[in-house]
């Protein structure tokens, strides 16, 4: 921060309706600066130690064996050759596993982190194809892997539902999902639809997906009596500590989770069976254990995004105004958990309509519990919705951007709440200009370069602003004027530690080099999920609260002859290296002077962020306009994305570099959703048949063009720092932008991504 600036008042003490905007939101200086990741050198030099690299004395290596049927019982298990194999210390099955308490399903308790509440190796039942049936511990990973391959199970299979079309007939409404029935009707959508002069009504399907973080799930752990130390890579250290404590019947403070680095999560790095099995086997063997899932293991043990079948129907007047919006459908779920991919969320906030109906039903399969994956609901929901809007625009012969913008709602159409900040129109206008949208021909097959047809498409992105309860932070300043900020948060590669150091530095008036940001440990303050794109706001709110507390503590330390004596925290503000009076900045004191005068070495304050009341008052979302150019071969139907631009409205951007890479990364994953990602399940057995990165295609370098990202940078007046998280919005809208561009190129509408050449071939003449 620069010297000329007036003292920065403290952040608000609440985010409820009467709270003013965060003064930091309008600050220049470090906020927005494209700082390089502070942990970059440690990562590229290999100095950063991940969970699978922690070595504990006497450690054993674990390997899992998986079921090969989807449902039934284990009637016999021959583990003798595995037990005899070299280096094997333990073979654990349901016969000898210690008795465990139930897991607690995510969302059913504040700190729950498990995907389901199924018994973990406690009985002979098989509930999905790929369920762990044994864990082997050996002196080396190779020995463990080999021994696991020798385990021979005999099953009594039972009839299983392994295909969506079998389960679909019995689809039913889900239990409440995050307090939401996923079902709502406004006005009379069916009559309005029937009476609309222009309609579109189509069904879109999306397949299962897997997260495929670069770091496979890994855990290295050890018991010391009833104390469990766990080196893991979760997105929720505190949740994981509590959840493991439940399973083993110990206190949360007896479980210590350390996870300074997480090699990507995307929603998949929570509590799954491998951590419980590792801890149970460690207990049984009396030795520390490391379990690193193979890539196949990740597919067998960690649920991905589930498949959806979505119907979108829109009715419109001649002027484009929507009269009716229908977004309904069925998602596949396991019998034993409740994550009904909430694909209706975008439709509920994007368009003004007087008549609408939204509904998600679940169809239960014998499959691994599906889970959250980057923008759960929005990623696939925007595919269907934004494809349908494009189809309607095409039928009406209007520009798809104009059609969208003439349906901009004044207030949230499903809740009636005002928007906290919504600048989608600005994002569209700026993006369209930058991308060269006017070059698009409204007619498909109009632009061609040799055998390649060129098409442009766009789609709206949206993702909610979330700030879950539990954000807390501790700030400690020492006599050298260094500040340590501690939060039980997560660095999964997105730059959390860097970004929050910037925030803390600006909040405290210190250079960023003076900030030590500590995260990734369950002993730190807070219950902070790195999910729902909420970490930025959750930590931002926590630091605001802890800072307020700290200023109060500093003012208490001050002697009566200090220029700040007798002041209330709201009467002072941050100046470089200390505090100054808001009404007279010349009267100030540095932190070091305050500590020195008081004769203390450090001062520390901890506070919990106030509840996320802002989310009750306003409809809070990020938005974006995604633009795509594709080239489609008329001969082979191959699709190459040649240009992509995302123009976002997601509050104040705190670090231009890390934000850009989050947004870009989301878009890359959206390209995967559009063009290649699909977890292939054999419908006869429910077995995943492509559990490897050779067979499950994610975009490779050659598939990813230059991706430009830009943003409005308009602060949200109702959030800490004026910011929104940016981890998930990038994937939303991307697949529809691609599909819409493909249609514009070749005139073929693909409603069932991945959009592979075979799907275009069916409808394209080939010249």
């Amino acid at each position: 921060m620069s010297l000329e600036q007036a003292p920065l008042p403290l952040g608000p003490s609440s985010w409820a309706i009467d709270a003013g905007p965060d003064p930091l939101a309008a600050r220049q200086g470090l906020i927005g600066a494209p700082l390089a990741r502070r942990d970059g050198p440690a990562k590229v030099t290999g100095e950063a130690r991940y969970a699978s690299e922690v070595r504990l004395d006497g450690m054993l290596y674990g390997a899992l064996a998986f079921s090969t049927i989807p449902r039934g019982r284990i009637v016999a298990m021959d583990t003798s050759s595995a037990e005899r194999a070299a280096g094997v210390a333990l073979v654990m099955t349901h016969h000898n596993a210690p008795r465990l308490h139930s897991t607690v399903e995510l969302g059913t308790a504040e700190r729950a982190a498990a995907a389901d509440e199924l018994p973990v190796m406690q009985d002979d039942r098989i509930r999905w194809n790929g369920q762990p049936i044994a864990i082997v511990l050996a002196e080396s990973q190779e020995q463990a892997d080999h021994a696991a391959s020798l385990i021979d199970a005999t099953y009594q299979p039972e009839p299983a539902i392994t295909r969506f079309d079998q389960a679909r007939a019995d689809a039913r409404p889900p239990a409440l999902y995050q307090g939401d029935p996923l079902r709502q009707t406004i006005g009379d959508p069916w009559t309005a639809l029937a009476e609309s002069p222009h309609t579109v009504d189509a069904v879109y399907t999306t397949p299962r997906h897997h997260h495929n973080a670069i770091e496979p799930h890994a855990v290295t752990l050890a018991w010391d009596g009833d104390e469990l130390t766990v080196h893991d890579c979760p997105q929720a250290v505190t949740h994981l500590a509590w959840s493991l404590a439940q399973v083993f019947g110990i206190r949360q403070d007896q479980v210590h989770i350390s996870a300074p680095y997480v090699g990507g999560g995307f929603g998949g790095k929570m509590l799954w069976q491998h951590q419980i099995l590792a801890a149970a086997a460690a207990r049984l063997s009396g030795r520390p254990v490391r379990v690193v899932l193979s890539r196949e293991g990740v597919y067998r043990v960690v649920g991905g995004r589930t498949s959806t079948e979505q119907r979108v129907a829109i009715g419109a007047e001649d002027d484009g105004t929507f009269t009716s919006l229908v977004h309904t459908g069925v998602v596949a779920t396991s019998r034993h958990n409740n994550v009904p991919e909430p694909f209706i969320k975008p439709a509920r906030c994007l368009y003004a309509t007087r008549n609408a109906t939204f509904e998600v039903k679940r169809a239960d399969l014998d499959m691994l519990a599906n889970t959250f994956m980057r923008a759960p609901g929005e990623a696939v929901g925007t595919f269907a919705l934004e494809s349908a809007v494009d189809e309607l625009a095409d039928r009406m012969g209007v520009d798809p951007i104009e059609l969208r913008l003439c349906n901009e709602p004044a207030v949230d159409p499903s809740s009636g709440k005002p928007f906290s900040a919504r600048h989608l129109i600005e994002a569209y206008r700026a993006g369209a200009e930058r991308f060269g949208w006017e070059a698009r021909s409204p007619r498909p097959r109009a632009r061609r370069d040799g055998e390649w047809l060129i098409g442009l498409g766009c789609a709206t992105a949206t993702y909610p602003y979330n700030r879950f309860p539990g954000g807390a932070a501790r700030i400690t300043i020492n006599r050298n004027g260094d500040a340590t900020v501690e939060v039980a948060a997560h660095e999964m590669g997105m730059g959390t530690g860097t970004v929050q150091s910037q925030v803390a530095a600006e909040r405290l008036g210190l250079p960023v080099e003076k900030i030590i940001f500590v995260l990734g440990d369950s002993s730190l303050p807070g219950v902070v999920l790195a999910g729902g794109s909420q970490q930025t706001a959750a930590i931002g709110g926590a630091i605001t609260a802890a800072h307020r507390e700290l200023v109060g503590e500093l003012l208490k330390l001050i002697n009566c002859d200090s220029p700040l004596a007798g002041l209330h925290p709201d009467e002072v503000g941050t100046i470089p290296g200390g505090l100054g009076r808001l009404d007279d900045p010349s009267r100030s004191e540095s932190y070091t002077a305050i500590l020195a005068a008081a004769g203390v070495d450090t001062i520390s304050a901890e506070a919990t962020a106030p509840e996320g009341m802002e989310q009750l008052e306003w409809s809070m979302h990020s938005y974006g306009a995604q633009f795509c150019e594709v080239r489609v071969s008329v001969i082979t139907g191959e699709i190459r994305v040649s240009r992509f631009l995302g123009s976002f409205d997601c509050g104040r951007i705190i670090n231009a570099r890390t934000a850009a890479s989050q947004l870009r990364g989301g878009i890359v994953m959206g390209l995967g959703l559009a063009l290649m990602e699909e977890t292939q399940v054999d419908g006869r057995s429910g077995r995943i048949m492509n559990p490897s990165l050779a067979d499950y295609h994610v975009p490779a370098h050659a598939d990813v063009p230059d991706i430009e990202v830009m943003w409005t940078d308009i602060p949200d007046p109702h959030t800490p720092l004026g910011a929104h998280g940016v981890g998930e919005i990038g994937i939303t809208g991307t697949a529809a932008a691609v599909a819409n561009a493909v249609y514009n190129a070749i005139g073929v509408r693909v409603r069932d991504p991945p959009i592979t050449p075979d799907k275009l071939l069916r409808h394209s003449p080939g010249r």
Binding site: T636, A700, P757
Partner: protein
């Protein structure tokens, strides 16, 4: 742990001596074999490392090119003689796998790489006649989008995955072999077997027979050969369909042609029916289409791979159009 012996052969005699041991396998770059061992699909008692054997690329007396079996794929692809005289081969190699894998993979190993059928790899959970004769084939009624439509049988429909082999098949390559009983040479197109009722017997090699090299004959039309691979993503994906082709045209008439297909056959598929149909015909899409359809007439599509028939026809036409357009 599954134990196996490892020996590094210093010369051919050495190699075949080790290689005739029971359950010995030759080891090239290991990019396929090591994976197969990890998955327990392959369980050799001994590995004979043949990467020290000849890897040279040199001209032959008859104007061809001989490539040692130990030559790394990337070296072959970047060799000037290959690029100038047999560009289809360079392009085919570069269209395959990733740079890292091509740096490791050898020519011998590429010839003998095994299918990517997912059921073949899934030892624990799936039935596969190729891996475990008589067990049944889970692909025929299962997920078979990537599987073959030509040369299939009721026991196996697995695709031969190599790109390099498709170019070699088109370019009349000859494979040199060594065995304790002596040396021999075979046309590449005679090396691989269609599955029939013994999908587990993948080639005509005798136990312990070693690939020592590949020879490309002098083939002037190959200087204008090309390779086109159609796949689900731009790199690091196996072919849905691929085409290696070379054509010689005079006065608008096809004088000579070489055509081979990948991604559609249980072996690298030399398209002889198409070639016969084309020779003597006026260049142009009608003739190209007739030729491609003649080759694909025998196709047996399954639930998910039917598109390959049309895609192969289109790709053949596209490639021949491109080659003859350049010719004009």
């Amino acid at each position: 742990m599954r134990r196996f012996d490892y020996a590094r052969a210093e010369d051919v005699a050495d190699a075949v001596r080790y290689g005739t041991r029971r359950d010995a396998l030759y080891l090239g770059g290991g990019t396929n074999l090591v994976d197969l061992m990890r998955e327990t699909v392959a369980q050799p008692a001994a590995l004979v490392d043949v990467t020290r054997l000849a890897s040279t690329i040199e001209g032959t007396e008859t104007g061809g090119l001989r490539i040692g079996a130990a030559a790394r794929n990337s070296l072959v692809a970047e060799h000037p003689a290959v690029r100038q005289r047999y560009p289809a081969l360079a392009r085919a190699i570069l269209a395959g796998a990733s740079a890292q894998i091509r740096n490791m993979a050898t020519v011998g190993g590429n010839l003998l790489q095994r299918t990517r059928c997912a059921y073949f790899y899934d030892v624990e959970g799936s039935r596969c006649n190729r891996r475990s004769p008589g067990q049944g084939c889970d692909a025929i009624e299962g997920l078979n989008r990537g599987h073959a439509v030509l040369g299939t049988s009721s026991s196996c429909i697995a695709t031969h995955p190599s790109d390099m082999c498709v170019a070699l098949a088109a370019l009349d390559a000859v494979v040199h072999l060594a065995h304790e009983d002596g040396e021999r040479s075979l046309p590449l197109t005679a090396l691989h077997r269609v599955p029939g009722d013994r999908p587990d017997i993948e080639t005509v090699l005798r136990p312990g027979e070693l690939v020592t090299g590949v020879e490309l004959p002098r083939l002037p039309l190959a200087a204008r050969s090309t390779y086109r691979k159609v796949r689900d993503r731009a790199s690091y994906a196996f072919a849905l369909v691929s085409v290696a082709a070379a054509v010689e045209v005079e006065a608008g008439i096809v004088q000579d042609v070489r055509l081979a297909l990948g991604g559609v056959g249980t072996t690298p598929w030399r398209a002889r029916h198409a070639e016969e149909t084309l020779r003597g015909q006026a260049v142009g899409e009608p003739a190209f289409r007739r030729a491609a359809q003649a080759e694909l007439a025998a196709a047996v599509p399954r639930a998910h791979n039917g598109f390959k028939v049309e895609l192969a026809v289109r790709t053949v036409i596209g490639v021949l159009n491109e080659l003859t357009r350049e010719e004009a």
